[in-house]
């Protein structure tokens, strides 16, 4: 399974999770895990997703997220989960 971490940070507003999740669903990307918190009005969310079902390549998915970034005015990073797994697990 090709897993990626999507981190979403920025000023909190209504509908952030819904917007991001809808976009991912359109691309057939399954969400495996979500953690989300508000720190001093700052929205911080991390999603672990499965890219295997997606019909797009990594950089295309990243490009598709651009309108969501612009619309929500949030920072959205996507990176392969392997980097965290290899760094923190033997």
């Amino acid at each position: 399974m090709t897993k990626a971490l999507i981190s979403v940070t920025g000023i909190d507003s209504t509908g952030i999770i819904a917007r991001v999740a809808t976009k991912l669903s359109e691309m057939n990307i399954n969400i495996l895990d979500i953690t989300q918190t508000i720190l001093d009005g700052y929205f911080t969310m991390m999603m672990v997703v499965d890219l295997d079902g997606a019909h797009l390549r990594f950089e295309e998915i990243d490009r598709e997220l651009q309108p969501v970034r612009d619309e929500l005015k949030m920072t959205i990073h996507m990176q392969r989960m392997d980097i965290f797994d290899t760094m923190h697990r033997i």
Partner: protein
């Protein structure tokens, strides 16, 4: 499942502490390009590199984007040119430079000769062409191995290299002697080093291989900030844990690049390589251990601990560790070293002592332009002796700053940084250097 805190730690290392993969270096064997006709050889070299490395930069960039880890340099190392140049090596040098430019790498290493025991005719031709080649090419790096634990020190080559460094500085005087920043003199050179300027693809290497150099002095420095005042046992343990994490990412990137390019994985080089950027300094790690500047008494011990702990932490994180693997202490490429040299805290003699306990040697040190070739040769001989006796790689990369004297500043730009010109010991050694010949291999080279 990975915890949020661990994810944030990785992100912080990359975004705030300058953790990056310093280089993916593709080693390419050029032995099959040898030809009596230098132009035909140059043509083959050009074609082979352009074909083999066609996806290198693109692959590096794709990995960078997907994994979210910067890969600062994409480079190539090739078979020492003296092994393939049966005539004039200059056309091959030009072809290497053009090929490097064509595939988009930022350096190509291997304009090199292995002369620890003596020179071939090709070695001599290559040596005498180095000043011209380094002044007429942009991306090509050169290295010459003049000593090894097995063979001793070739003092003829040491003498010649003093003169070649002087000539190179003169021919590239307009750029503050930049040519010398692309020229390394080695003792015990390694065949799979991914770092420039000393990278080349040794004769024992496969057809091609992916070698990766990690970095991250900033990460180690920040980790040590959390153990202020604690005993050295804790310091060593903290460095080990950090080095493990850094190296794991190096291994991941190396494997991924190898898979995507269908080129075998060679090694991960565990070096802590600084840059002139703030927060990316090896000297600042030493200072974090409690020293006012790098060079203060205790510096050699601090560096020994650092170098050893990095290896111990990194060695389990990768299935093949190689290259230089240790802490680098270049002067112009490390903001903490620049500060220490400017404050007068560190001298060339102290740097020489430090090279006994780390990789690699007297590196990126600007010296007065009027330093004699013999003095430079003497510095090379001293470093070569340290390498030979201690079974380790040592090197010299000094830059005589033409028209400048101790205390002036030279500017190389980019990753090469800037440096104050450091004073050298100018007492006469001409009779010593004039002797030539070979210093025999030490007794502990007889291991069989």
């Amino acid at each position: 499942m990975i915890e949020t805190g661990e994810i944030l730690q990785t992100m912080r290392m990359i975004q705030e502490e300058n953790f990056d993969i310093r280089t993916i270096t593709l080693g390419i064997n050029l032995l099959d390009c040898a030809d009596q006709d230098p132009n035909r050889c140059a043509e083959r070299v050009y074609d082979k590199i352009c074909f083999t490395a066609r996806n290198l930069v693109h692959t590096g960039e794709a990995i960078e984007k997907e994994f979210g880890i910067p890969i600062v340099n994409k480079r190539i190392s090739v078979t020492p040119v003296s092994m393939i140049a049966q005539g004039d090596p200059v056309p091959i040098a030009k072809a290497l430079d053009r090929a490097a430019n064509e595939v988009g790498v930022n350096f190509l290493g291997g304009y090199s000769a292995m002369m620890q025991k003596g020179s071939t005719n090709a070695d001599e031709r290559l040596l005498s062409s180095i000043p011209q080649v380094l002044s007429e090419t942009k991306l090509l790096c050169s290295s010459v191995n003049v000593a090894s634990t097995r063979a001793g020190i070739n003092m003829n080559a040491v003498r010649e290299m003093g003169e070649i460094i002087k000539k190179t500085a003169l021919l590239t005087a307009e750029s503050d002697g930049l040519g010398c920043a692309k020229l390394v003199v080695f003792s015990n050179a390694v065949e799979d080093n991914p770092f420039m300027a000393g990278a080349f693809c040794g004769a024992g290497e496969p057809e091609c291989a992916i070698n990766v150099g990690v970095s991250g002095p900033g990460v180690v420095k920040v980790a040590l900030e959390s153990v202020k005042g604690q005993p050295f046992d804790i310091v060593a343990e903290t460095i080990k844990r950090t080095a493990f994490k850094i190296t794991r990412v190096g291994q991941l990137v190396a494997k991924e690049a190898s898979r995507r390019m269908n080129i075998p994985f060679g090694i991960v080089d565990l070096s802590l390589a600084p840059t002139p950027a703030r927060g990316d300094s090896v000297a600042h790690i030493l200072m974090e251990m409690g020293l006012e500047y790098a060079g203060a008494p205790g510096t050699t011990a601090a560096l020994a601990l650092l170098n050893d702990a990095v290896k111990k932490g990194g060695i389990m994180a990768s299935n093949h560790v190689g290259g230089l693997s240790g802490a680098f202490i270049p002067v112009s490429e490390d903001i903490g070293m620049i500060e220490s040299a400017s404050a007068g805290a560190i001298t060339i003699e102290k740097l020489e002592a430090m090279t006994c306990v780390c990789s690699v040697g007297l590196d990126m040190i600007a010296i007065p332009g009027d330093t004699s070739a013999e003095t430079i040769s003497g510095m090379i001989a001293d470093e070569a002796a340290i390498g030979m006796i201690n079974n380790k790689t040592t090197a010299i990369r000094v830059i005589p700053a033409v028209g400048k004297k101790a205390g002036d500043v030279v500017e190389f730009g980019g990753l090469l940084g800037y440096a104050p010109v450091m004073p050298v010991n100018t007492f006469d050694n001409r009779l010593f250097i004039a002797r030539g010949g070979r210093i025999p291999a030490p007794v502990h080279s007889m291991r069989n």
